[in-house]
Amino acid sequence: MPDHKSGRDRATRRLWPALALPGTLWLIALFIVPFYAVMAVAFSGQINIFNEPIPAWNPLDWEFTTFNGVIVDSFTPSGVYHEVWVRTAIYSFWALVICMVIGYPVAYYAARLAGKRRGLVLALILAPWWINYITRMLAWVNLLQDDGYVNKFLGLFGIPPYSWLSGSSITVVWALAYGYLPFFIIPLFASLDRIDQRLLEASRDLGVGSVRTFLHVTLPLSRMGLITALVITALPMAGDYYTNTIVSGSPHTNMVGNQIELFLLEGPQKNIGAALVLLLSLVLLFFMLYYLILTQRASKELTR
């Protein structure tokens, strides 16, 4: 029996790593190596007649002239890319504010108050998640035309028509908020849903007003969900380039993602594009690490 048991343990011990192997190899080959390729291109010191960088696979060949130049141009006020970074930050910030102001109440209502209609509310809130992102943007392009429904609606109140699609920052911020709200609401919903109803009832039974209950009980308990929601929306938003292209298309509203797309897909200077990708990743790494540490901690609590 003991023999059998130990043999079995050994078999199992080999089994689990074996199961994890293909996925791990996949992620190494298609996530980590590609990242290295970004560095090899960003730190390339040679270009060909198409002005395309020749990747420097050997770290000893790395040259940081381009990368340093991109850093200087990104973070000094007179730099070429300074504006796109500032815009990325401002647009993401306001879009996230809108997400919070609208998303929190909605998630709260769906998770705790919808009562009998809970299933319906949840289904409707989840619906946009299953609708193609570009389709949802396309829908707004229809509405925001000069002779579209939005201007017609505003016309009812005597508001003169506005060219929403003519490179307006406001349109871009709202489009971002609209696009990412479903992704914001869902993790928040999940965390609000987990809060023990009895805690809230206790608070209310003690005569605490709903605002105070919210501030002192609900909000702290949903902190983790809120952070997840913020991170999960902020990261892709910072790398967005299609939303503003669809609803604006003006250089006036271009973000860092547009600049990356320009250099990588529409131009030969891929080393500058790769350097911007690296820089964006470094900026976002802070948020990613924070989020990963939080989730690791949470999953440890679960397994304990």
């Binding site: 994890a20 909605v106 609708i131 229809n142 690791q296």
Partner: protein, 304 residues
């Protein structure tokens, strides 16, 4: 404590019957939150419904209603089924989505089993790394894959093979997260029991673990499918040529060129297809759900 005093004082000075003002009443119906939620739902879905409406427009305009017609769906020049590129894009999207599910789901499930049950320092590291794609902006994933494919993995032609690799890479983490949370909640006892009864490790997985994981596997397959259909960024970087363009790529290019209601029709078809697949999944999940009080929708919602 101060909170408690106030209602008490009020009761003493003006005894009985004095109605608590609605904003003080912790048990009042959540009218305001309800209103916000329903307004949000209207805001998030109405534009899409209007876009669907315009797919039936009897004219070129996507902002002025000119009467009902199905000319943009079929049998007219420029309609979805007459325009080979649109029909092709629809086909490409579906093939890619299904292929991604077929690769990413088993890969992710195996990874989840391996990483969850195999306890070591390596697995902890692998665990952390495997979550990174989940929080990496698609732009970063897309550009890194693009640079590695054109510079290093030149044997992988851009197009469907490259797109498949890309889609699997960023969806496999979804499978991992969903399946792992289920694995953590069911614990290791069932497999142990199966092993004690003489099952081989593989048998234990096949006969005990996989059936237990089925709801999570279904949910993650569905999410992988939807994510793949929804993806624009990774596809745009890797699609190569028009033969492999997916619906989002076509929509994005066309919305910038000369859009017609045929685009709305195309988007509508994709949307209807996605929802049919979704309903199917929900039904399957419902049928499989035994003894758990989790609703199918919530299984899907709970992915975060």
């Amino acid at each position: 404590m101060t909170v408690l005093e106030r209602p008490a004082v009020a009761e003493v000075s003006k005894p009985v019957r004095r109605r608590v003002p609605p904003w003080r009443n912790p048990w009042r119906r959540p009218y305001i939150l309800g209103a916000i939620t329903w307004l949000y739902i209207a805001w998030s879905l109405l534009p899409v419904l209007i876009a669907i409406q315009f797919s039936f427009n009897d004219g070129r305009s996507r902002s002025v209603w000119q009467g009902f017609s199905t000319q943009w769906y079929c049998c007219n020049e420029g309609s979805v089924f007459e325009d080979p590129s649109m029909f092709l894009a629809l086909k490409n999207s579906l093939i890619l989505g299904i292929a991604t599910v077929l690769v990413a789901t088993p890969l992710g499930v195996m990874l989840a089993m391996g990483l969850t049950r195999w306890r070591s320092r390596t697995s902890a590291a692998a665990n952390g790394i495997s979550l990174v794609p989940l929080v990496t902006p698609e732009l970063v994933v897309g550009s890194a894959l693009y640079l590695v494919m054109i510079n290093l993995y030149q044997f992988v032609p851009l197009g469907r093979p490259a797109m498949l690799l890309g889609h699997v890479t960023f969806t496999v983490s979804y499978v991992l997260v969903i399946v792992r949370s289920r694995l953590l909640s069911i614990g290791g006892e069932y497999e142990e029991a199966a092993r004690d009864l003489g099952a081989s490790p593989m048998q234990a997985i096949r006969t005990v673990l996989v059936p237990l994981l089925m709801p999570a596997i279904f949910a993650s397959a569905m999410i992988v499918f939807a994510t793949s259909l929804d993806d624009f960024v990774v596809s745009q970087f890797l699609f190569g040529n028009a033969s492999n363009a997916t619906v989002p790529i076509l929509l994005y290019n066309a919305v910038r060129a000369s859009p017609t209601p045929a685009l709305n029709a195309l988007a509508t078809i994709l949307l209807v297809g996605t929802f049919l697949a979704l309903i199917l999944t929900v039904l399957v999940l419902k049928a499989r759900r035994r003894g758990t009080d989790e609703s199918a929708l919530e299984t899907l919602a709970d992915w975060g």
